[in-house]
Symmetry: C2
Subunit: 308 residues, 2 copies
């Protein structure tokens, strides 16, 4: 099974600290890298954690707060200096377009690659990206400015060929793909070997939801039902619920409630307020409601595993 | 004598590395902080090296390359979150204005302080800033985009009162300022004590020039004659002189030639190319021409001392 990984580059919140970087993470699947959010300093985090500038093909920006997007123009600029030629796709709220245009004109004349901007309607839940490995859906969130999360869904893969059966029936290599696609096999004697004897089931498709920044949305679980891994805004601990509501953020307890209602496999907490010297309290409160919860931290990599 | 200090926050060049940060430094004189350039990540460097966000009253931007200005909007945004009320003055090439306007509208609504933009004519050598402690002059440089350096000149200070003479002649406190300003003193017996016996000479005014980014300008020394400390673009070593010319940067040898011709007191080297694992070679080449040369590094603080 191909690894499906989340690399955490930054899981801090708006105020910069030496403890956490501004929001950014990189999703890795089948050799392609997708960035979600790009706060100031993201390109340095990429250097630090050996994330390839070349392999990033798409950047998704959740919303236009600085701690989620101030690093974007620097990233593009550096990609230019590194001689990138492949287009870079940016999915972000529509207001990003004019700013990006102005910045590209001022700072990135002579780029040898295209920056292709895709305006995302933050109010709609829809597929905004698709390739042969996965789809990405926008998840409307509730924050102080238009904001949406992202749901990465791996596409169904093909069943696994049973090597022993192929050898046993001496099936030629040219037929392997047909069998993966469901064909039976007829031997020279006319015996039909049903497809189910020739393959084992495909791996379960995996999914990952990024829901940050957002206030607690009691219905959010409906959009991400059964998600394998959920990363959810958990800026505050339970005692700060009022403040969370005021600033349109969530507590870790609320994040855990979303994970529980969604029947998620695992919950990752992030976007921690600068007030915390450690996030153990935040973690423990979430675990009371949703035991399979983990704190994120810069440099950590999480595998997305299909839930049991 | 009040300390006149240069805090180095970043002395790398355009390509981000883990070794050096993007350009930024902070000048400290009489409790006021002035920032020169503000590359991406500058606000984190401020956290790391305990530079007060509140005390920065003015930011000077040399030119509109990302490694000198991408951190500006993040800095302003953070100042807002920290509750700043004092105006922040930005001196930068005129093209900065429209970008800053757009960014402030998008990211900084509700700021409780004014951001006051001053367009600098990069082609003219003139005083662009003045307060009671110092003046700042723009220094036209030659780079791929309009660019100027900055010359900080401390204003003349008053002579020092001779405590022993004040006591001897029982001169009242109310007269001290007059004497600092040059007055003689007449005793009750009518004896005139000349001012020169009552004071020792004022400290020599100090000066600091920041010349980055620039190609080698053979006449630059004329604008900074006698400067106490010069920070000069030294992106490359001597062997890269052609590349330096091509990209409108300087070698350390060229930086040293400017320092020598200007009769500077000390030369600080910075803006090092990402290709160097250490800058000892760059330093040694400069020292051959101008012995009192030092490498800069993040976190270093240099006192500006009057040259002997």
């Amino acid at each position: 099974m191909e690894p499906f990984l989340i690399h955490i580059l930054g899981c801090g919140s708006a105020l910069p600290t030496l403890r956490h970087s501004a929001s950014s993470q990189v999703i890795e699947l089948r050799g392609k890298l997708f960035m979600i959010d790009c706060g100031e300093g993201t390109q340095l985090q990429m250097r630090k954690y050996h994330i390839s500038f070349t392999k990033i093909q798409t950047v998704f920006i959740s919303h236009l707060h600085g701690d989620h997007c101030f690093g974007l123009i620097g990233l593009i600029s550096t990609m230019g200096m590194l001689g990138r030629t492949a287009p870079l796709h940016i999915y972000a709220p529509k207001e990003t377009g004019p700013l990006l245009d102005m910045q590209l004109k001022m700072f990135c004349t002579g780029l040898e690659f295209n920056v292709v901007f895709h305006a995302v309607d933050t109010k709609r839940h829809q597929v905004i990206y698709e390739d042969r490995s996965l789809t990405v859906e926008s998840l409307p969130l509730q924050h102080r400015v238009p904001c949406n999360g992202f749901l990465f869904r791996e596409k169904a893969t093909l069943p696994h060929i049973r090597r022993d059966m192929i050898d046993c029936y001496e099936i030629p290599v040219s037929q392997i793909n047909n069998i993966k696609l469901g064909a039976d096999w007829t031997t020279e004697d006319g015996e039909v070997i049903p497809n189910s004897r020739l393959v084992t089931p495909a791996d379960k498709s995996r999914s990952y939801a990024y829901c940050c920044d957002t206030r607690f949305i009691p219905s959010l679980h409906q959009l991400i039902e059964g998600v394998d891994v959920l990363y959810h805004d958990s800026t505050y601990d339970k005692s700060m619920e009022e403040r969370a509501a005021l600033y349109n953020h969530s507590t870790s307890t609320q994040a855990a409630m979303v994970a529980k209602e969604a029947h998620a496999g695992q919950l990752l907490l992030g976007h921690f307020s600068a007030r915390y010297d450690n996030e153990e309290g935040i973690l423990n409160e979430a675990k009371e409601i949703f035991p399979n919860t983990q704190l994120t931290d810069e440099g950590m990599t999480f595998p997305i595993l299909a839930k049991k």
